[in-house]
Symmetry: C2
Subunit: 190 residues, 2 copies
DNA sequence: ATCCTCTTTCTAGCGCTGCTAGGTTACACG
DNA sequence: CGTGTAACCTAGCAGCGCTAGAAAGAGGAT
């Protein structure tokens, strides 16, 4: 038994290494630099080994994205927990979201812009995704009024996401970012 | 002179054909299907001819995107012009924006999600881009209150853009789309 | 200790991509 | 009717994601 256990452990370790290396490479040189050949070289195995762990390159990106969702959820939770009252809670959670997108742009890209197939808004949705959305929702809830909380959360999220993607793609001038965020917050705090 | 004129006209025609064919191919099979080889085959010239018109594939996509911006601006203008009073004008313009993104998703992708290098929010910004944004701004203006109109427009735009991209990427359930749009509109009509 | 088996891993290669160097063809002009 | 130049194409480079089939290695049985 122990031998097989060791093998499975080694496999899991190697899989983790693939994910970690893919992430590091993406963060250092962008997703375009993440090729199966370079990944193989970095993990010191041949290319086909990657395909014994993942269905393809997209699946590797999805695995990195999942890590991102876990971290984002943790940061949103921390921001909400640290907020003194519900009034500022939304601003703090929003700031955490924006901070995440700004400091980990490559991760954000894999999570939201690239079309890795992670199911959203469904029972099969992985837990970290639901948790992240949940933090946003709880920050919105006290301010939701008569609106459906989920729908209102989705709209707020879309606002944040739109601001981040348009700014990063050079569609919005970065210098006015804070002012725009303040306007968005005011719309939803009212 | 006439000969050279004819040649220049032919060149312009061919350049337009490249753009048109790229767009058709993208709309029929998606941007992944738009390869330089297939484009060359469709315009019945060899591959290098493309590079005598455009710096590379990205530049071809940018040209298609520019067509998209022109059409979007026209549709937004029409929607605003047809709106009876400023109160409904924003809703109509927003509906036109959403309609554009939904009926021409491939164009929308080239315009906003792919990173073609078109300068935004700058004096060098091509006219169609400025016009499209201008239509949104004029629809927002009567409702802006004390906010900076540009900033408020940008936030509203980000909201629309976020809703469209998240929905298209499968991050938001399509069936609640109208409800979300209504919430966004209410936030900005207040 | 040796053989066999089955898993793991690698080598090699397919068909594709964007892009370009260098040779060929066609055409306006003297 | 030659000639210089501009237009164009053939062929190929280096890279991509992915995979078939050979080689190597580890475990169990004799």
């Amino acid at each position: 038994m122990s031998i097989q256990e060791r093998r499975e452990r080694d496999r899991r370790d190697r899989e983790q290494r693939i994910i970690a290396v893919a992430r590091e490479l993406a963060e250092a040189e962008g997703w375009d630099a993440v090729t199966t050949r370079r990944l193989a070289e970095l993990i010191e195995y041949s290319q086909p080994v990657l395909y014994s762990h993942f269905k393809g390159k997209a699946a590797i990106m999805a695995a990195v994205a999942l890590e991102g969702f876990t971290e984002l959820a943790a940061e949103l939770r921390a921001a909400r927990a640290a907020a003194p009252d519900p009034r500022t809670s939304l601003a703090d959670v929003a700031a955490a979201y924006v901070g995440f997108a700004e400091t980990r742009p490559v991760l954000y890209e894999a999570m939201f812009t690239s079309d890795v197939d992670l199911t959203f808004a469904s029972p099969q949705t992985p837990a970290p995704l639901q948790e992240g959305f949940g933090e946003l929702r709880e920050a919105i809830r006290p301010l939701a009024g008569s609106d459906d909380v989920d729908a209102r959360t989705e709209v707020f999220w879309a606002g944040l996401h739109g601001l981040m993607t348009l700014t990063r793609a050079g569609r919005l001038p970065p210098e006015d970012h804070d002012r725009r965020l303040a306007i968005l917050l005011r719309q939803f705090a009212a």
